[in-house]
């Protein structure tokens, strides 16, 4: 038995190198403007108190930016939302600093560095910033993290009958870890998924397993983002959403299992 996993997308948040938000990304995905290579711009999170805002790490800025963009797009109340975070790794800069210090004779690491080392650090700050006490999931599946996050987000949405905010994101490691894991920059996508259609709904998606190869993007720069930042394995689906096109796209998940997504604009 293969179930029908379906949901409505009510809001989208996006951030990637050269693509600071969803309106820019969707214009590029529609072919209306070119992707101009630039480092990812991570806005200072206005939702955090000033002291926390200054200390916020890159992954915290990234997840707050895309998560809030999707919630605003859908006019959803972040304080009530169930969330699913999916990331291929934790905060790479923090991890490097810890490993570097633990390799010296002075192993007295900073307590803040330690609590920021957990894979769910960005999710923890999201809770503190939004006051959301709803369930919060944090997943890792290496390059397959977007697909894993989407599957659990759909699971929660269908079993509990509540909207779910999926926040899929990745960040870079500095040297020397960068040579072992070469994610180039911060990037991510947030989807506000709803179990019912509303006037806010942009599109319906239906997800099923397949063994077909994933769609590639015709634009080489976009295709490079798709393959180098795991959360952006979602780009073929986002391109269909940006264009308001219906149809079936296939996304990379975890070989040999792939995800086919039927997109039906509302």
């Amino acid at each position: 038995m293969n179930p029908t996993l379906n949901a409505w997308i009510d809001g989208i948040g996006f951030l990637a190198p050269g693509l600071p938000d969803w309106p820019t990304a969707s214009a590029v995905l529609r072919g209306e403007q070119a992707l101009i290579a630039a480092p990812s711009l991570l806005p200072a999170p206005a939702i955090l108190p000033p002291a926390e805002r200054r200390r916020a790490s890159r992954v915290v800025k990234l997840t707050l930016a895309i998560g809030l963009e999707a919630a605003v797009h859908a006019a959803a109340d972040v304080a009530t939302l169930t969330t699913v975070f999916a990331a291929s790794g934790a905060d790479g800069h923090n991890c490097h600093a810890l490993c570097e210090q633990l390799a010296t004779d002075d192993r007295q690491i900073s307590p803040t560095r330690f609590h920021n080392s957990v894979h769910n650090a960005a999710a923890g700050y999201w809770g503190i910033a939004t006051h959301a006490m709803a369930p919060c999931q944090v997943i890792c599946a290496y390059d397959a993290s977007f697909g894993a996050g989407l599957l659990d987000a759909l699971g929660q949405l269908l079993v509990d009958g509540q909207p779910v905010l999926l926040i899929a994101y990745d960040s870079e490691y500095p040297a020397p870890l960068h040579a072992k894991r070469d994610t180039p920059d911060c990037g991510g996508v947030a989807l506000l998924l709803s179990p019912q259609q509303s006037e806010r709904s942009l599109s319906r998606i239906t997800v099923s397993p397949t063994d077909e190869p994933a769609e590639h993007l015709a634009d080489a720069a976009l295709e490079s983002l798709r393959t180098s930042i795991p959360a952006l394995r979602s780009l073929p689906m986002l391109q269909a959403l940006a264009r308001g096109e219906g149809g079936r796209v296939c996304l990379d998940y975890l070989a040999p299992m792939q995800l086919a997504v039927e997109v039906q604009p509302c």
Partner: protein, 396 residues
């Protein structure tokens, strides 16, 4: 939720490898904690180390996964014939229909810590033999397990610090409910590393002696390592006495990165959600395996939440004085302990705890005692304010 069958389960902790050692220790109240002599760690603390982990040899085809965390994963999978039960499920349902949902907090980061001591003196590069994906990455234990059984379907790691391997039960239950899989390997693996030992010490959360959960003089955790697993399937074929997962509840504190909500508000929400999910009232719970890390703040907050929901009516204990706090593996370890409590009708005690904190108004068990356990609740709470409660019972 629709109850699910734990068709096989196993735990490997400082108490020993597999259920027999775990069962014996729970019955006689012994502890696996010892003063820390792990690697080159120089800290005045106690730990729950699993003996023999580094003697494990991974299959040659999976050599890229070799690290302490995956050695412990393999050791845990092969205990109690668990791996054979998984292979039988794969034969029954097919390799695409058995999912993998494993929790961890640090996976194989020890491998990276060790590699950082062997950087090239000129370039700073990490050694060629260090492989990030299959050792350090949080998914490595789940990908190893998927490859170990030749699976081809859904897999994910859940990493919400110390609630990780409780939340895997909820995630797998959702996919079983939707029919996207027919069975799930759920569990958790976390192994000793410098990041957690020095990290918890930096927060002044490690005790200089064996941890004493719910004791008036408790002063911190003892870090442990563990691998614990369960095979979840639909319960249509369950036999009388089989262990069932009856309910799951998840919540967030939305309060602080490394301190629990002082009133235990998030903890209470998770327990209430688990009771709702199981369709049970608080009076139908016969034993609570508490998160009980033995930090002053955790036990005070959890105690308030348990007192508010259950008063002194339901006996409970933390088993971390026996196993240590196994972090991302704790949820799975303590789920297995709940399954043993139900199967053996034995309520575990709390090795190390002597003088109960009089400020915590719950029925806390110092010693193991026999008693009918129809339903057991397990609490797991983590950094970032991530909470998960699970309820187990027996098939009628």
């Amino acid at each position: 939720m629709t109850p699910l069958l734990l068709s096989s389960f196993t735990a490997t902790t400082a108490l020993g490898c597999g259920l027999a050692a775990t069962r014996a220790a729970l019955a006689n109240g012994s502890s696996g904690l010892q003063p820390c002599r792990f690697e080159s760690v120089d800290l005045p603390t106690w730990i729950g180390e699993v003996p023999g982990v580094d003697a494990q040899v991974l299959p040659p085809a999976l050599a890229a996964y070799d690290c302490r965390n995956n050695r412990l994963t393999q050791m845990g999978l092969e205990a109690d014939g668990f791996a054979d039960q998984v292979r039988a499920a794969v034969a029954r349902y097919g390799p695409a229909r058995v999912g993998v949902f494993l929790g961890t907090s640090t996976a194989g980061i020890l491998q990276t810590e060790l590699a950082y001591r062997r950087r090239d003196p000129d370039s700073g590069a990490l050694p060629d033999d260090f492989i990030y994906r299959t050792t350090h990455n949080s998914f490595s234990l789940a990908e190893f397990t998927r490859d170990y059984f030749g699976l081809s379907g859904m897999a994910m790691a859940i990493s919400t610090a110390c609630s990780s391997s409780a939340k895997v039960f909820a995630a797998a239950a959702r996919q079983l409910a939707l029919g996207s899989i027919d069975a799930a390997v759920v569990g958790g693996v976390d192994s000793l590393c410098l990041t957690t030992l020095y990290g918890f010490a930096s927060l002044q959360l490690t005790s200089t002696q064996a941890c004493r959960p719910y004791d008036a003089g408790r002063d911190g955790i003892s870090i442990g390592e563990a691998a614990a697993f369960a095979l979840l399937e639909r319960a249509e074929q369950a036999q009388r006495g089989d262990i069932l997962l009856l309910g799951t509840g998840e919540s967030s504190d939305a309060y602080h990165m490394s301190s629990p909500h002082p009133e235990g508000l998030g903890a209470r929400l998770a327990m209430e959600a688990a009771l709702r999910s199981a369709g049970l009232s608080g009076d139908e719970i016969d034993y609570i395996n508490l998160h009980g890390t033995a930090t002053p703040a955790n036990d005070a907050a959890e105690g308030k939440a348990v007192a508010a929901l259950f008063g002194r009516r339901v006996p409970g204990s933390s088993t971390k004085g026996a196993t240590g706090h196994t972090l991302g593996a704790a949820g799975a370890v303590e789920s297995v302990i709940c399954a043993l409590a139900i199967g053996d009708n034995l309520l575990p005690g709390s090795p190390g705890t002597e003088n109960l904190d009089p400020a915590i108004a719950i029925d806390y068990l110092l010693q193991a005692r026999p008693g009918k356990v129809r339903h057991a609740l397990s609490n797991s709470f983590g950094f970032g304010g991530s909470n998960c409660s699970l309820i187990f019972g027996a098939a009628a």
